[in-house]
Amino acid sequence: MSALLEVRGLHVEILLAGGLLKAVRDVTFTVDRGQTLALVGESGCGKSLTALAVMDLLPPRAQRRAERLRFEGLDLRKARTRRMADLRGNKIAMIFQEPMTSLNPCYTIGNQLQEAMLRHRKVSRKEAQDRAVFLLEKVGITAAASRLRQYPHQLSGGLRQRVMIAMGLMCGPAMIIADEPTTALDVTIQAQILSLLASLQKEFQMGLLLITHDLGIVARVADRVNVMYCGEVVESGEALQIFDNPLHPYTQGLLRCIPIPGKTKPGEHLGSIPGVVPTPIGDLKGCAFRNRCAFLSNACTAENVVLREISNDRAYRCLLSPETCAQNLRGRST
């Protein structure tokens, strides 16, 4: 399987009044066809900016640079505005977090859906309309034909998000980037939307880059996981492995915070990670997590910690050895 999206050494920097904010630092990952990669981390860790950087939709003050940024072999760093616009909505689709505000209130659903296709394909309005109906049904919306004439404010949040997904699929993209697609929805709807995404991905063999802070979602849907903290990737690997054997103290801390069916015992205290995420502004040296890490040592402050690969697709960013990490995990959970 050739890599659909290759990202290596991605940096995003934002010029603020107080200095240069290094929001995304040296992020590397790949997404293959038919594969789901999850970018996990708390608010502000840079995962959304990573996605926006790939799509070239960063806010005006932000700048990106990367060693490698390829989509289907095309170097996105050198792609001109026109070329990028041709790719967006066509080969790469992005779904955002707030379905309530992501659709234009002045135009019908049908208009906005058809527009997504008419922009990229030389088809008639009727054909675009038929495709819209087809996809609306695919995402589980009944009475699709009449829905086309409705306005966004006439639909619920869950329905709107389904419309967004359908809109992303109008041109049959090779990859979907979903930025917290279920965060703003009811819990009951979340599961439905996720299953929908998973089944659509399988059916159309798309690559899926899923951005979320919710580990529960990751467990359900992801093949591979990159855990991000303060702009960096601190751990990466297959989802199952990360859940079974988290290495980085942050990942361990995250997993302790949620109840895991089968592992968490009744009456057990759920953990929390003390402290707050620091702001990556100005000169950065040492491990970003050190203020909140239980296993802090002097070395953590002195030198920058690089990402260590322990096998083909397993990596983590900590000075402790894998064995020590495993030990810490066991020690904490007894």
Binding site: A85, G89, S102, L103, N104, P105, C106, A116, H153
Partner: protein, 305 residues
Amino acid sequence: MLAYTLKRFSLAVLVALTVSFVTFMLLRFSGDPAAALAGVNATPRQIEFVRVKYGMDRPVLIQYAAWARRALEGDFGESNYFNQPVQAIIGGRLSVTMTLGGCALAFAVLLGIPMGVLAAVRPNTWVDRVALTISVIGQAMPSFFFGLILIIVFGVMLRWLPISGSDSWRHFVLPSIALGYYATPAIMRLTRSGMLEVLASDYIRTAKAKGLRSGSVLFKHALRNAIIPVVSLLAVQFGFMLGGSLVIETIFAINGVGFLGYESISRADLPMVQAIVLLVSMFYVVLTFLADLFNAFLDPRIRVG
């Protein structure tokens, strides 16, 4: 829909009553209308004669009620100066003022909206600053001053355009600019702020993520939303223009309702003044109603019923 229209209609009636009542009282109590009518050199007997002749010796409320009753039938009295029915004289001049107002509004829109869009797309650049500067200066100049400058520059020095009268379309150019420029800053700023707000919204991000070209994003998606409050502003500004055309019409000797109002005041032709005030206020009410309807047309979220 029907209920809404009825509600607005009864509001309009109430406004009409209140405006005409307030104006009536103001005019009656501002001085002795009989004395003003009789002239500066009139003797007390002459003034008394005028007072009785025009029914100004009755209680004020009775006078108003009589006026209102006749007004409902379309009779706004006779002009003291022309000795003809008021409505005939106003009718003749109305189209001129409407034309002037329309042209002025068109000028303001053609200048203000593109400037606002441009300023929003390039915020905090020199384009933005120039637009804001123009708007700030535009709002500081009194309209009569601007009108006189236009006359001097374009009418006299360059001799491009005529400076008085209302015969040809050319006669309307300078007055329209003088009347319209005052609304331009407000339109430009509202468009700019509306566009800035809209451009930061999520559905614009979606539009870009769909790969839409910037023209489509800007005009089909952004402006369509940003323009909605501007429509209400335009209605209000048009109403103001109809009321404020007085100064411009006087300077450019345009035979419109505003100039008529000015002349009527100098001649103490109170029935005329009364009628004109009522007319302008009714226009305003109708305009805001139309603007609300248009708003509902533009924004699907606020459609009634």
